[in-house]
C-alpha cells in the first residue's frame, strides 16, 4: 500500500472517465477513485468524499483532484483541506496530471506537488 491516495472530484462523468482512461495507459490503480457532483449540493458532495476516504483511504494522505477552480466540486474539495487527511487540492485535472500522480506519488509532498504541476502544464499544447 502506498502512502497516498487520490480522489477525482469532477462534474458529470469526467472523474470516472478520466480514471478509465488512466487504467488504459497506466494500469489499474487501487488508490484512486472518482466522485461526481451530479445531483449533489456542496455539503452532500463533501460528505460523499469524506465517506469514501473513511472507507478506503486507510489513513493515507489524500490528494483531491478537481476540474474547474471555483466550481462547486473544487469548492467542496477546498473546504475539506486539512480534514480527513486531505493534504492538497489540484484543479484543472487532466490525464497527464493523473499519470504523474501514479508515477510520482511516493515523492515528498513539495517535490510531488511541483512535479505534477510542471509535467501536466507541459503536456498542454497544440499541433497545427
Amino acid at each position: 500500500m502506498t502512502g497516498r491516495c487520490g480522489v477525482v472530484v469532477a462534474h458529470g462523468r469526467l472523474g470516472e472517465g478520466l480514471l478509465s482512461a488512466l487504467t488504459r495507459v497506466a494500469g489499474v490503480q487501487d488508490n484512486l477513485w472518482a466522485v461526481s457532483n451530479d445531483e449533489l449540493d456542496t455539503e452532500s458532495l463533501m460528505a460523499e468524499i469524506e465517506s469514501l476516504l473513511a472507507e478506503r483511504g486507510a489513513g493515507r494522505e489524500a490528494i483531491l483532484f478537481s476540474d474547474l477552480d471555483g466550481g462547486s466540486c473544487c469548492q467542496a474539495c477546498r473546504r475539506l483541506l486539512g480534514r480527513d487527511s486531505v493534504r492538497a487540492v489540484f484543479y484543472g485535472v487532466n490525464l497527464p496530471l493523473m499519470i504523474e500522480f501514479v508515477f510520482l506519488q511516493d515523492l515528498p509532498f513539495d517535490q510531488f506537488s511541483a512535479a505534477l504541476l510542471t509535467k501536466s502544464r507541459g503536456a498542454l499544447g497544440v499541433h497545427s
Binding site: 462534474h11 445531483e39 456542496t42 476540474d67 474547474l68 477546498r78
Partner: protein, 158 residues
C-alpha cells in the same frame, strides 16, 4: 447578450453560473444575497475563486440588497443575483425589487424534499414559494444552464 438573471442555487457562484450563464450574459457584477455569507469573508473568497477579473462579486445582506439592487438594476449593467433559497427571492420580490423571472438552478435532496428534476428538489414550502412568486407576477423556471430548455415550475407544483 446582456441581461439580468435572478437565480436560486444552493451552490451560489460555481461553474454553471460563471461558465454557463457568465459567458451568455457577460455580467459586470454578481450579487449574492445572504445574511450569513455577508459576514464571512473567508467563505466569500472561496466563492470568488475562479471568477474572471471582469466580474465583481459582492455579498450583501438582505437589507443591503433591498437598498442596493434597484439602482444596480436601473444601471443597464448585466447582473446575476443569487440566493440560496426561494424564500430569500420571494422576500426580495415582496420588497419591491423588480423581478420578472426567477431561475431555479440548484435545490438538492433534503429532508421532506421530492425530486422534480435532477437539480430541483422541492418540499411543501418550496412549492408554496413558487405559487407566491407567481402570484406576484414573477415567472419561476428551472434551467440549470442556458442550453437546456427552461421548465415552468408553476405547472409542476399545482
Amino acid at each position: 447578450m446582456s441581461g439580468v438573471l435572478f437565480r436560486v442555487d444552493e451552490r451560489l457562484i460555481h461553474g454553471q453560473v460563471v461558465v454557463g450563464w457568465g459567458r451568455r450574459l457577460h455580467p459586470d457584477r454578481i450579487v449574492v444575497v445572504s445574511d450569513d455569507l455577508s459576514r464571512q469573508p473567508v467563505e466569500q473568497d472561496i466563492y470568488r475563486t475562479g471568477l474572471p477579473a471582469s466580474i465583481k462579486a459582492v455579498f450583501w445582506n438582505f437589507s443591503e440588497a433591498v437598498d442596493g439592487l434597484p439602482a444596480l438594476l436601473d444601471s443597464g449593467k448585466s447582473i446575476i443575483v443569487l440566493t440560496e433559497d426561494l424564500d430569500t427571492m420571494l422576500r426580495l420580490a415582496s420588497a419591491a425589487v423588480t423581478i420578472e423571472e426567477v431561475n431555479v438552478g440548484g435545490l438538492f435532496a433534503g429532508e421532506g424534499r421530492t425530486r422534480l428534476l435532477p437539480y430541483v428538489w422541492f418540499d411543501a414550502e418550496d412549492e408554496e414559494r413558487v405559487r407566491e412568486l407567481e402570484a406576484l407576477g414573477v415567472r419561476v423556471v428551472a434551467q440549470d444552464v442556458p442550453t437546456t430548455a427552461p421548465v415552468r415550475l408553476r405547472e409542476r407544483v399545482g
